[in-house]
């Protein structure tokens, strides 16, 4: 269950690509154990918000507070203790729309290689941990397979296991099921559902509104680089914002 402890806080995050500002000052608090869902039309900036959370995109203005450190350029006059992006990323896992598994490594090594280079230790420790995580997503029997020998759904489950093997405090999901064939969406959502139930803090960008309704205890509707409205788990039933209602109606 969500607590009141804030794990990550975005304040005044602005991001510009070229001459277009795509985020116009985003404020968002993610409390520990909560499951935030960000949705909205394409081009609304939801993926960019997510990518700012692990600094794959460095905000032009604004601050990201995470576990006692501040990241990003900050808001002038309010800078706190600065952290290095790599330290944040080691505590924040990310799952991509395109899976981004390493094609030249077996499923096992896709987990073991990052684990070993982040944690150090012996190869066999890393492999044991990798096998353990693959087992949790039900893919241990495919440990020796290469990504090209796995279905999209299996690849995405390996990607989730890979992120989880580093014991993240926060998991980011960037449209994790959008690149999947419809019949493969379920297995990935099942893994995510288990993860949510285990108490992991999650931020999910998705078009799967039913899934959002199911796990989302912070629902964020974005449009044109702004957060239009937010709500709790009753958001989908009691939403009063006209635009959000229209959008939900159009994708459900």
């Amino acid at each position: 269950m969500p607590t009141s402890e804030v794990l990550m806080e975005l304040s005044g995050v602005r991001k510009t690509f070229g001459t277009t500002e795509v985020l116009h000052g985003i404020d968002l608090k993610i409390t520990k154990g909560s499951h935030a869902v960000i949705f909205g039309p394409s081009g609304s900036g939801k993926s960019t918000v997510l990518r700012c959370m692990n600094l794959l995109e460095e905000p032009d203005v604004g601050s990201i507070k995470f576990m006692g450190n501040e990241y990003g350029p900050g808001i002038t006059g309010k800078e706190g203790k600065r952290g290095k992006p790599i330290d944040l990323r080691r505590k924040v896992g990310m799952v991509f729309q395109q899976f981004n598994l390493f094609p030249h490594l077996s499923a096992l090594d896709n987990l073991a290689l990052p684990y070993r280079s982040v944690r150090g230790g012996s190869l066999s420790d890393a492999q044991e941990r990798a096998a353990h995580e693959l087992n949790k997503v039900g893919l241990l029997k495919f440990a020796a397979n290469y990504p090209s020998q796995l279905s999209g759904g299996q690849q995405q489950r390996v990607a989730i296991a890979r992120a989880l093997s580093l014991d993240p405090e926060l998991m980011l999901f960037d449209e994790p099921t959008s690149a999947l064939d419809p019949e493969l969406v379920g297995e990935v959502l099942a893994v995510m559902r288990d993860l949510a139930e285990s108490g992991m803090t999650m931020v999910v960008v998705t078009h799967e509104m039913n899934f959002a309704r199911e796990i989302g205890d912070l629902n964020v509707f974005m449009e044109a680089g702004n957060i239009v409205t937010t709500g709790g788990s009753d958001f989908f039933d009691n939403c009063t914002n006209q635009r959000a209602k229209e959008f939900i109606g159009s994708v459900l």
Binding site: K91, F96, N100, F102, S106, L113, S117, Q149
Partner: protein
């Protein structure tokens, strides 16, 4: 066969047996050509990779230097390059390279520029999600390059490395001019004794063609071993331990 000559008709005599008679010399020449080009291949790949990184660097000075180098040396003929190294260097600095060294340096100067471009395009062909996944996992820049970018770029580059190498072997033929006893130099020597240019140079060309076939075969095999999952015999042999380990893990987990 006959040809028209002043005052009558003389037979053309193709002395193909020369090729067999002097097979040892020709093969020795071929080995020299392979030796020079292999050393140069290794050096050019290493230097070419450094140039590729310099060319993609955030530091303007580095990238301008690298791209100037590439654009100049790509255009220089091997003949000129080897004359610079063998004669020019000695004139300027009073130090002499051996013919073998000169050949290696001349080829490396030229081909590191080609390899720079091969590696640059290979690195750029890798989907940007690969680097992002590495970053998101908290890997260092060095680790991302070594363990994610480099292996994938190598695989992409292999066919191009193969055809570059065929070019390098052929370029060793111009080193006859400094007296490197490679295939063409051997042919020149034989020709000055027997005056059989057609036969001897055709034989020389034949040797290059055979070598080109061989290189193509080898690189196809290398490519197979670098495919995902690895398919060649070498890769299968190397990965058998890993497979065993995974099987053990599957049982114990």
């Amino acid at each position: 066969m006959f040809r028209q000559e002043e005052g009558g008709v003389a037979p053309i005599n193709f002395m193909w047996h020369l090729v067999w008679d002097f097979r040892a010399d020709l093969l020795k020449g071929l080995l020299t050509a392979i030796g020079v080009s292999i050393v140069a291949l290794i050096l050019s790949m290493v230097i070419g990779m450094l140039f590729a990184l310099a060319r993609m660097s955030r530091f303007k000075v580095l990238s301008i230097f690298a791209s100037a180098y590439v654009n100049i040396f790509r255009g220089i003929p091997a003949l000129v390059s080897v004359i610079w190294v063998y004669f020019g260097w000695s004139l300027l600095f009073g130090h002499n390279f051996t013919v073998f060294q000169s050949g290696v340096i001349a080829l490396t100067l030229l081909y590191s520029s080609f390899f720079c471009e091969i590696f640059r395009s290979a690195l750029q062909a890798i989907h940007k999600g690969q680097r992002e996944a590495g970053m998101a996992l908290g890997l260092s820049r060095k680790r991302i390059f070594r363990s994610i970018m480099l292996p994938q770029a190598t695989k992409i580059a292999i066919p191009n490395i193969g055809s570059m190498y065929i070019g390098m072997i052929k370029d060793t033929s111009t080193f006859a001019i400094i007296g490197l006893v490679e295939v063409v130099r051997v042919t020149q020597n034989l020709n000055s004794t027997y005056f059989q240019p057609f036969v001897l140079y055709t034989a020389a060309a034949g040797l290059y063609v055979i070598i080109a076939f061989l290189i193509d075969f080898i690189f196809r095999n290398v490519e197979l071993n670098f495919s995902y999952p690895p398919q060649g015999r070498v890769a299968k042999f190397l990965s058998r331990k890993k497979k065993k380990k995974i099987e053990e893990l599957m049982k114990s987990t």
